[in-house]
Structures are given as C-alpha cells and as structure tokens.
Amino acid sequence: MDKIPNNRAWWLVLPVFLLVAFSALIPLMTVVNYSVQDIFGPGQAYFVGTEWFKEVLTDERLQDSLLRQFLFSSAVLLIQIPLGIGVALMMPKSGIKGSLCLILVAIPLLIPWNVVGTIWQIFARGDIGLFGWGINQLGVDYNYTGSTVDAWLTVLLMDVWHWTPLVALLCYSGLRAIPEAFYQAAEIDRASKWAVFRYIQLPRLKSVLIIAVLLRFMDSFMIYTEPFVLTGGGPGSSTTFLSQTLTTMAIGQFDLGRAAAFSLIYFLIVLLISWLFFTAITHADKEQ
C-alpha cells in the first residue's frame, strides 16, 4: 500500500502536544526561566546567566545531600532488588495461599506516604513503639532521633518495608510467565535449584527487573515524605535527602533562582542515571 504524504496530518498531533505542553513543558520552562534570573520582587528581575548553576554546584550543603542521596539509593537497590526476588521465589505459585500472599505482600503499597512515615515514627520509638522498645529490651541501645546510624537504618528499613513488595510483585508476575516446560526440562537435565534460578528464572526476569530497578531508583532518588515525617531530616542533617534540601531552599528560604537551577540539575541526574541503567541492561542483551 502506498502512503500518501500529507503534512496536514501533523494537526492530529496537536491535542497531545497541547496536553504535554501544559502538564510538562510549560512548568519546566518556568523553572528554566527562574534558573537564569535573580528575582527580588515583581518587576525586579535581573538576568544572571549561569551564575546560579555555578553556585549550586559548589554548594557544600548540596554536595553532602547529593552524596547521601546516592548512598541511600544504592542501599535501597542493593537491598530491595535481591530481597524482592527472594520473596517472589518463596511465594506459593497458585491457589488460595498464593492469593492470600499477594494481598499480604501488597498491603504496604496501599498506604499513603506520610502515613508510612507516621507509622514508623511511632513503631520505632523507644518508649511506646513496639519495634524500638523491643530492640531496646534486647539490650541494644537504639534511638533513631539521636544516633545517625540508627536514623539511617530506620529510614532504610521503612523504605524496604514500603517498597520491596513492589519488586516482589513485579518478579512474581515475571516468574509466573515462565512456561512450565522450562522447569520440566531443567528437572530432566538434573539442574540444581541454583542453576534453575541462574539460567532459567533470572534471565527471564530481566525485563521486569529493568522496570523494578528503574522505578526503585527514581523513586528512592526523589524520596521526600517518609524521611521528612520520620526524622525530619535529622539528627542534624544526616537524613536530609536532595528533595528536602530543595524544598527548604525553594519554599523555606524562597531562594527561587538557586532552587530552580538545582531542580534542573536534579532532573538531569535522574534522567541521566535512568538512561544509563536502561542502556546498560538492554545493551548486555544485544551482545553476541
């Protein structure tokens, strides 16, 4: 069939373009606009070029919180991905037990972010929280409001509790999609459990794992509500992550130019790393 070139067809793209413009492009351009100006008040704006960007990149407070952010996201991925796979592997394959497990595992995902923060804030308290009190009873000195290490562990634990189910559910669906014939063949070939995992299950989980890694990276890299509610960023600034630093800057200090430059850098980092993950994983596939 011959295609008839007709440039008027571009008009059909217009509704989508408008929608995307309003939802993403225009807000983004406003931020770009702020990032190159110093605004004192209405009508008092001065063009400052890349000034804000230079300042932001050399700001020590921001560098620290960026480092913390990377540490946090790496820890999240290192814990949640293997744990999620493990949980998925242990879940019953079908039947009433399978359904029950699915519901139980999915519950944390249904809880609103700041409720999660509140739950853990109380749960981990040494005086009235079951978790904190229990740990203290074991003779371990645990106090997430006072100790940096404890605060970090608590934030991590909370995130693991909240988001590992997502990884587990994704992996579970991936595992269910593997045809029974592969397990039969492996059984005939006398493959060990590990060999079945390594050569049959893991390769076939690849596509869901790409999604899981990307989602968990982006989400953890932009984490705000839960640590804000749980620790408020403390003790000191030990659990102050990027988005909290940004919020303080933009809304607390009303430092719009700097915050705008910072947001753009933040956005580019997320974009860049997601792209790196994606190409790394999909490229490994194409070799050979």
């Binding site: 014939a181 592969f182 039969q184 063949a185 059984e187 005939i188 070939d189 006398r190 493959a191 060990s192 060999a195 050569y199 049959i200 893991l202 390769p203 050979q288």
Partner: protein, 366 residues
C-alpha cells in the same frame, strides 16, 4: 540403561475418576526392554505423552507402579530416575550459547570439564551444529533449536533411557529423515533404551524395532512393523497403520462363516469354532488393500464388484470397489486399468482375512 516395567499402571487427571472414560491411561502392563529402540504410536490425545511423562517422572501415575530394573521408582523425581527426555516443543535455555546448552546436563552431573568438551563436540557433530556452538541459543532457527533440545537429551551417557516426545514436529521433512537415521545410529552405537512418541507411522517404523500402538488409553498392540501390518491385533491398528488403512466391514454370522449384504465370506474351521463360542454381535472382517486380489474373470470365492473410483499415486493405484453397500479399497499395480463403472472380480485370500470380535483379532491358538 534400564528395563522399564509399567505394572498395572493407570492414570487419570481427574481426582475422582468415575468410569473408564475419565482415564488418560487405562490399566495396562508393559515392559520396555533394556537397550531397545521403541516407538509409541497413536493419534493425538490417546495418552502417549502422559505415558512418557509417567516414565520420566514428570507425572505421578494415579494407580500402579513404574519399575526400573525391578526397582519401584514411583516416588523418585525425574532427577533421581536419571532419565533424558526431549520435548515436542524445543526447550532451550536462551541466555546460554549452544555449547552451554549442551554442556548443561553434564555440568549438573559433575562430569569432568575435559569430558564435557569431548562429549559436546561429539553430539554437535552428530547433529551437525558444530559451527553454531558459540552462538547464543536464542538466535537460532526453529529446527536448530530443536536440534539443541535433542542434543541435550543425547549428551548424557549414563541415562536409564531417553524419551522422545514427537521431537521432530517442527523440522522440515528432509532433515527429519536424516535426524531419524541419526537417532537410530546413536541407538546402535550406545545401546540406550529409547522410547519415541509419534503419531506418524513412517517415523515409528523407521526408528523403532518394535512399535507400541496406543489407542484410547490402552496399548492395543506391541510388535514389529511387519506384525502390525500383517496381523493387526485390533481394528484400530488395522485402520491406523497403512495408507490407506485396512478395509473393515461389519458382518453377520452365517453358516459358512460370515456375510455382509449378499456376500458370504468363507472362514477357516477354527475361526468358525472360535466365533461360535462368543456371543457378541460386534463382528468385523478386515483385509488390507494390499492383499485384495483383483481379476477380470470370476474365480472360486470371488465377488463381482463395481469400480467406483481410481486414484493414481504414481507407483501404484488405489481403487474403490463397490460390493453391495460396502466400499473396499484395493491397491493395484500401476499398469492395471479399468473403466469406472465397469465390473471386476475380487478375491480375499483367507490367510489375509482377519476376523475381529469386539474390535480384537481372533487368532489361531497354537
């Protein structure tokens, strides 16, 4: 290598089978002898694959025992039965190369690395995929995948048996023939018990020394290709083996033997005697198209028949002959010629005329 004995085996996929129709395999006893090359032949849905999966241990039989060399293995997993099986649809590990695929069962069995290399090379040569060894298995064509899948079944040397579940389905006919020869060679070389499931009689007879014909959950005959052809034990075997299948005619008893329409078929005295002892009204006679004799002149015990149709198959012809209400097929030489509508004379040699009561052959007691 092992002798595989299926003892009063039956299998039903339903939890509480209420009648024989609920059984995928009806109770049967069967022995696959050590080192034999066997085919399990039957139409789709007759229970062939179920039986294979029961032997390998992928399916637990609901009744009866599976014995390997006299030892009960019902409770053992396929892993512990040490059995190789090739599936109808190729299963390949697509994250591995062809080499790794073939080496996988050996690696799992802790075979020394040097031996793995030798063995993989050997099997790859047999299957003619040595040039593909380092390709990713996922990039192979369908028939290459099938070969790899088959190779994994053949690569282990110490297996009790190798089971093939229609392994050549997706392979084109030319290669099919070649691979079948290869399997046969491998069998002769290594002397492993092999059971080959197929619904293709040609495939069964080129591969196997003995063929088990399965029908409706039962093994209705177990014999050499010649036996199946000359002495079908069951009307189904007559119908299923041969192309075209056996002529089967419903008949009634009469004094000289049996008759259908106006035609009487004279039977041997022992056949009549046997028949008289049975009360069933389900009586059939069967004769293969190859054994029907046709002449232009009447003979003793010949019937006048009308030529209804003639089909030229190149090296021979199949003609349809009308005798009363029945239509019989006969195979004749290429140079035989008769007008459609003309009348010829048909003889059924007694030694090739089989008598079936309740679908089973009446055999002379020796």
């Amino acid at each position: 290598m092992a002798e595989i004995h299926l003892k009063s085996l039956a299998h039903s996929y339903s939890k509480s089978p209420s009648g024989p129709e609920d059984y995928a395999i009806r109770q049967l006893d069967h022995v696959w002898h050590k080192g034999g090359a066997y085919a399990l032949l039957g139409p789709s849905g007759c229970g062939k694959s179920t039986m294979l999966n029961i032997i390998s241990g992928l399916v637990q039989p609901s009744e009866g025992e599976v014995l390997f060399d006299g030892i009960r293995v019902n409770a053992l997993s396929p892993r512990d039965r040490n059995i190789a099986q090739v599936f109808q649809f190729p299963v390949i590990y697509d994250s591995m190369t062809v080499y790794q695929n073939l080496a996988f069962p050996l690696k799992n069995n802790k075979v020394p690395a040097a031996r793995i290399k030798e063995r993989v090379q050997e099997i790859a040569e047999v299957l003619e995929i040595e040039d593909k060894l380092h390709k990713k298995a996922k990039n192979l064509t369908a028939d290459e995948k099938q070969k790899v899948s088959m190779g994994r079944g053949l690569v282990r040397e110490d297996v009790s048996a190798i089971l093939f579940d229609e392994p050549l389905t997706v392979i084109d006919p030319q290669l099919k023939w070649k691979l079948r020869r290869k399997l046969k060679q491998i069998h002769e070389q290594f002397d492993i018990t092999m059971v080959y499931v197929t619904h293709d009689q040609l495939e069964a007879s080129t591969f196997a020394d003995k063929i088990a014909v399965m029908y409706d959950g039962q093994i209705v005959q177990f014999g050499t290709p010649t036996e199946l052809f000359e002495q079908p034990n069951h009307t189904f075997v007559g119908y299923f083996i041969g192309s075209p299948g056996m002529n089967l005619i419903d008949v009634e008893r009469c004094e000289a033997g049996v008759r259908f329409g106006s035609a009487e078929v004279v039977l041997e005295p022992w056949q009549i005697e046997y028949l008289n002892r049975l009360s069933s009204t389900n009586v059939k006679i069967g004769i293969r198209p190859e054994f029907i004799e046709i002449g232009l002149e009447p003979k003793v015990n010949s019937y006048e028949v009308e030529v209804l149709d003639m089909e030229d198959l190149g090296t021979y012809k199949i003609i349809d002959l009308g005798l009363g209400d029945e239509t019989l097929k006969a195979r004749v030489d290429e140079d035989f010629d008769a007008r459609i509508g003309s009348r010829v004379h048909l003889t059924m040699p007694p030694q090739w005329t089989m008598l079936y009561v309740d679908e089973f052959l009446i055999q002379e007691q020796s």
